[in-house]
Amino acid sequence: MMSATKKSILRRAAPLFAAAALLLCSRAYAQEGPDALVKRVSEEVLQIVKTDPKVQAGDRERIREVIDTKLAPHFDFERMTALAVGRGWRQATPEQQKQLVEQFRTLLARTYSNAFVQYKDQTISYKPLRADAGATDVQVRTEIIRPGQNPVQIDYSLTKKGNEWKAYDVIVGGVSLVTNYRDEFNAQIQNGGIDGLIKSLQAKNAGPAPPAPTVK
C-alpha cells in the first residue's frame, strides 16, 4: 500500500516526468542529422509526386499544399532572403524585411511547383555526409538520376537552429539559388531601392501562372 505522502510526491512529480519524457523525445528528434533529414523529406515528397494523382495531373493547389506542408517547414526563408538581398538587407526596415521574405518565399514556391511534376521518374542518390560531429553548418549532397539523361547534382546548405536543421540554400548543378538572385536583387535595389525590389517581386508573383508543365 502506498502512503499518502508517497502518492502526493508521485502526483507532484508527474508533470516533471512528462517534461522529461518530452525532452527526451525532442532530443531524439534533434538527433536526426542533416543528411537523414534531407533523405526523409526528399523521399516523402518523391513518394507523393509518384503516387498522388492530383499532383501528377498538375493540380496547382495540391502541389502548393505539398510544398507548404512538407518542404517549407524545413527551410529558413528569412536567412535565404537576407543572403539573396545581400548588403541591402540591413538597410531594410523590419516591415520591408517581412515583405521581402514573404514575396521571395512565394516566388520560390511558384517556381518550384512548376518544376515539381517533371521529376516523376527520378531516383535520388544520397552522398555520405562530410562534416564534423559538432558542425552547425553543413552541405548535404544528393544526385538526381533520371533515365536517359545526365544526373543532376542537388546540394542543400543547412544550418542548425536550436535543435533543428534548416536549409538556407539549394544548389542545383552548381548553381546556388541564393547567389543567383543576389545580382538581380542588387540591380533592383540600385534602380528603385528596397521598395522597388518589393514592387518587382510583387509584380512577378501577381503575374499569370506559367503554362502547365507537360508530363512526359
Binding site: 517556381t111 548543378g173 552548381g174 546556388s176 545580382d183
Partner: protein, 235 residues
C-alpha cells in the same frame, strides 16, 4: 526572318545599347550594354526561328530518334571529354571517357546507343573551356552571343578550338550531309534547354541577369569538378 522582324531586332539592339548604359557595370560583365543588346536580338531570333523548331522536334520527333541523336552527339562529346581529361591529367576520367567512346562506337551503332551508360561508366563532361580554367586561365569577360547563348572569352575560345577540330568533317566527307547533321544536332541541343527556359521564365525578374549568374556559377562548378572554392563574401 521577315524584313519587319529584322528591323525590329535592329531597333531592339539599338534601344538596348542605349538603355543598357544605365545598368551598373559588373566585374564579370564589362560589356554588359553590348551583351544586353545581343540578348535582345537573341530573344527575337530564338523566339521566332529556333525555339519553335526545337519545340516541334521535342513534341513530334519519336523519343527513340531523339535519344539516338542525343547519344550520337554525346559520343563525340565523350571523345572531346577524353582529350580534355588528358590535358588536365585526370587518368581515371580519361579511361572512362575513352572506354565510353570505344564501347558506344563499336557496339552501340556508332554512338546511337549509349551502352556505356547502361553499363554504369560515368560521362566525364570535360571541355576545352574547363581545361583552360583548370590551367588557371581566368574566365575573362562574359559574352552573350545571339543564337549560341551565354559564354565567356575563355569558354568561347574553347568552343572555337572544338569547332576547328571537328571530327565529323573527317568521317563524313559530303558537305551537305554534314551540314544537315550539324543542323539536327543543333536543334536537339536547343531542345534540351526547353525545360530550363520554362524555369527561367518563372524564376527570373530580369532574365538576362539570371542567365548570366547561372552560367558563370555552373562553369565555375564544372572547372572545379563539383567542389568550387567557397564564394567570396560580398563587400
Amino acid at each position: 526572318m521577315t524584313r519587319s522582324m529584322r528591323r525590329s531586332a535592329i531597333a531592339l539592339f539599338a534601344a538596348s545599347v542605349l538603355g543598357g548604359c544605365a545598368a551598373a557595370p559588373s566585374r564579370d560583365d564589362p560589356f554588359e550594354p553590348m551583351n544586353r543588346a545581343s540578348y535582345a536580338v537573341h530573344e527575337v531570333v530564338d523566339g521566332y526561328d529556333v525555339k519553335p523548331v526545337a519545340q516541334a522536334y521535342d513534341d513530334y520527333a519519336p523519343k527513340l530518334v531523339q535519344t539516338g541523336i542525343r547519344n550520337f552527339f554525346g559520343n563525340i562529346d565523350d571523345f572531346f571529354s577524353f582529350i580534355n581529361d588528358m590535358l588536365q591529367n585526370k587518368p581515371d576520367k580519361a579511361g572512362n571517357d575513352l572506354g565510353r567512346v570505344i564501347a558506344n562506337t563499336g557496339f552501340g551503332l556508332l554512338g546511337l546507343i549509349d551502352i556505356a551508360s547502361d553499363a554504369g561508366i560515368p560521362k566525364g563532361n570535360e571541355d576545352f573551356g574547363q581545361t583552360f580554367g583548370y590551367w588557371g586561365i581566368p574566365q575573362g569577360p562574359y559574352l552573350f552571343i545571339p543564337v549560341l547563348g551565354p559564354t565567356t572569352v575563355r569558354d568561347g575560345t574553347g568552343l572555337i578550338a572544338r569547332a576547328y577540330a571537328s571530327p565529323l568533317s573527317y568521317v563524313i566527307v559530303d558537305v551537305p550531309t554534314r551540314n544537315i547533321l550539324y543542323g539536327v544536332g543543333f536543334v536537339d541541343l536547343r531542345a534540351q534547354y526547353l525545360e530550363t527556359d520554362r524555369l527561367v521564365d518563372q524564376a527570373a525578374i530580369d532574365k538576362y541577369t539570371f542567365i548570366r549568374r547561372s552560367y558563370l556559377q555552373r562553369r565555375e562548378y564544372l572547372v572545379y569538378d563539383g567542389r568550387p572554392p567557397p564564394p567570396k563574401e560580398e563587400d
